[in-house]
Symmetry: C2
Subunit: 500 residues, 2 copies
């Protein structure tokens, strides 16, 4: 039976993915410094084997033959995802993939070096090369998938996302935020004039911070029989669903940043741990996509862990793990004022939940123009500055390092990825609203540190669905309606607005 | 060029080996408990890919064609090892390999369960099956290699080892030890009657023990840019030469056992780290075999770290890392009396350096009889007991758990491996003697904690040689003469004998 051949192929590919995921996590956490060269060689060869095995021509025949076979509903959906993966993996000629790999690796290396030197001009030729390749890739993917070129790029990260749907949603959100950011800043200023921000008094030992992080992970549902927490330079959530490798980093003058980062990554981890393990070797059994994944991390970080209810439960944990003198005299409001502090800034990854979407929308708009030839790489600094000035009232024209050179995405050729971040924030708010309808005392449960019912809702509606549905269909099925920015706007108004 | 095809194959195989080694080390150190099933599946699939790629029929053609090519000396030797590996990997039919894998996995599982229950009778049928398979395997390997059946089994672990050479050497050593064990026990009794063994007074913190172990590793030459130390249930030295993964375990009532285990594994690690990295993707670039590997670990553990000179240097380290009160009033002699304590015991892995070879020779003799049909599995307990009684004066007839059920080797089908342990001890003594000839102040250097010149000798004569020569040829080249048990006997006499 051809479906069985696909099933067996899935197991071989899962094993290679397993090796690549664990080797990747190990590299960032436990590898000896001198082990990098051979590790890179090993991972490149394994990735090559993965590519060869996942794009073999006979797979096309198996897929076609399996369509005529007697399959149950899961198998039928699985076959659809096998086909989607195969088409996405084979729609670029090998010659192009090799050319792109060389160019983006070189461009990423250059970017690391030149960003540190704030040198846009020297970087520009490499970025121009990447933009050319991305246009070529978008055209190739567009032909293969029958989608508009930018949609064909997004399809890699969130199947079903279309600019036709997203453009009005992002435009609406942008319009809202242009007015709302000043409002939130005013509200914050009034609040803080009456109750000033308190200063953290370190040092906070790494051992205590680790214990606090572990306790927070456990509290919100992380399963330590299927995962662990380690230290790495950049926090990530990697590994495999049966052995999720989460990392964080610590600063001894601060513990709240690390704690919030741990909670964010725990959101990703819960999704991976909550996938249906019996499908883990099918594309159908994997997490749906980047926007949905980010919605799960932001659900924990923003919807749960930055709420007042969470801190009425979590504040005693701080005292328990960091000592009674860690934040003397603070109550939950003081913590919330710290972690929910709003600020117009240059750097996307440092942005708060209110201004973050403007950083994303700026990139989303620019990268569409780049893909469609309405903007050239040389024009990015001016265009970036114009939008930063318009959306956030700050200029980056003299500081490309903190402007268009701040992210690895474009140097690495990852166009179509940025919208996932804000999509995730919107989906998280919409999920919270749907969840609260079926679990009216959800806020009280958070306040008691009870996350089982909340996680069960997410498990049934998101995690166990794997890749059964496209991103828009999954949103509609889980929340009862298509993506609607009103939920996120209402969430921001409630937390940061004048009448919140 | 066909040699280039072999070279490229070597790189692909090295990458799969890299993944398997790191995944194996990770499993024992950092894997979440629930990750085992998927890890086993991943490693089995990667091992399958390794087998498929390393036994592909076209490799035979590449090897034959490469013989006619213009190769330099290293490439010629490399080609020889490619051929040796290929012949060893392909001499068993796939059908047999699958049958053996299933049987030995099942037998190992049963052994774990039944050993704990001391139940030989229930285990016997499984072991009989394994013995049948081993006889079949020995015949197949014998045909393919033109060697005697037991020699063909040993050839997997130490190429070039032949019973014709080893039998008289082991017989000689056995004869020596029958008299020498009582002598060593008498000498020890006299010494200890004048200066009784001191008792360790724990608890010894794991953190301190870890720091002491790291310091000892660093002192004898472990390169921490290419390796690390972690904790696992059973100590091992794994990973890859550029990233050696060493482990140990700790007991809080004892720190000397863990320290000596760390030094033993460091010996293995130095060999791996010292291999020629430019050949690491050829069979030629790998460590020669089990006997030579064990000679490198025993060189550090027995020749260096159990010597009086070592402890005149190492005793202050104990005080530094474990505290001044760790071993109050002890001098180097007290430590040596502890770590070099001789005792007739049941368990090979717990045996001291004097009695250990008798445990090995017993198994070496029995497994030859098993392979050649002179002994049946059902007769093992009687035969084991007769030899234990004859060699060590103790009976295990009523306690199979601590008799023939104590080792995993036979349940796992690894016949021909045991001699490597004692071969390693003899080679280590012979190497020390050769080294001391070219470095007459080697003992003084140990006393000063200087291991660079000692390691350089080993690097040139052993480590950098990789698999250029068969085990016997490597011994002769490194030490100037073939394996000669007199060096080991002299070493034992000096350390444990009446006139030592
Ligand atoms: Zn995230
Ligand atoms: Zn060893």
């Amino acid at each position: 039976m051809s479906f069985e051949k696909l099933d067996a192929l899935g197991r071989r590919l899962e094993s290679l993915e397993h090796a690549l995921s664990i080797l990747g996590a190990d590299e960032a956490t436990h590898m000896a410094v001198g082990g990098g060269e051979k590790r890179a060689e090993a991972m490149a060869n394994l990735a090559g084997m993965y590519h060869t095995q996942s794009t073999a021509p006979e797979i096309r025949d198996w897929i076609e033959a399996a369509k005529a076979e007697d399959l149950n509903e899961d198998q039928t959906l699985a076959l659809g995802e096998f086909e989607r993966s195969y088409v996405n993996a084979t729609c670029l000629p090998t010659e192009f993939v090799e050319r792109r790999t060389v160019a983006t690796m070189r461009s990423e290396q250059l970017w690391r070096e030149l960003r540190a030197r704030n040198d846009w001009d020297s970087f520009l030729p490499a970025l121009e090369g990447v933009v050319d390749l991305v246009r070529e890739e978008a055209a190739l993917r567009s032909d293969a998938l029958g989608l508009a070129p930018y949609d064909a790029l997004m399809e890699q990260y969130d199947p079903g996302n279309r600019t036709e749907t997203l453009n009005p949603i992002f435009a609406d959100l942008k319009g809202f935020l242009k007015d709302f950011v000043p409002e939130a800043l005013d509200v914050q200023e009034e609040k803080l004039s009456q109750r000033p921000l308190k200063a953290l008094k370190g040092p906070y030992s790494i051992e205590n911070q680790r214990e606090l992080g572990l306790a927070a992970m456990r509290a919100v549902g992380f399963d330590f029989t299927h995962g662990s927490l380690a230290v790495s330079h950049h926090p990530f959530c990697g590994g495999v669903p049966t052995d999720v490798r989460m990392t964080t980093r610590y600063r001894t003058d601060q513990f709240l940043f690390s704690l919030m980062a741990v909670l964010h990554e725990t959101g990703h981890a819960l999704y991976e741990q909550g996938l249906d393990k019996s499908w883990s070797h099918w594309p159908l059994g994997k997490a749906r996509g980047m926007g949905i994944h980010e919605s799960q991390s932001l659900f924990v970080e923003m919807q749960l862990a930055r709420s007042p209810e969470f801190w009425s439960f979590a504040l005693p944990m701080i005292h328990q793990y960091m000592g009674e003198d860690a934040i003397p005299g603070w109550d939950a409001t003081d913590v919330l004022n710290q972690v929910n502090f709003v600020e117009r800034g240059y750097i996307r990854v440092d942005a708060d939940e209110v201004t973050y979407p403007l950083h994303v929308i700026l990139r989303y708009e620019l990268e569409q123009d780049l893909v469609y030839g309405k903007l050239e790489a040389a024009q990015i600094p001016e265009a970036w500055d114009a939008k930063m000035t318009e959306y956030l009232g700050i200029s980056t024209i003299d500081d490309p390092k903190d402007g268009p050179m701040q992210d690895v995405h474009w140097p690495g050729g990852a166009f179509g990825y940025f919208p996932s971040y804000t999509l995730g924030a919107m989906i998280a708010a919409q999920q919270w609203s749907a969840l609260e309808k079926s679990l009216p005392d959800a806020r009280e449960q958070i306040g008691k540190g009870e996350f089982d019912a909340i996680n069960d809702w997410r498990r049934q509606n998101i995690w166990l669905q794997g890749s059964r549905y496209s991103t828009p269909d999954l949103i509609t099925r889980a929340t009862g309606e298509p993506l609607n920015p009103e939920f996120f706007k209402a969430h921001l108004r409630k937390r940061y607005g004048r009448n919140g």
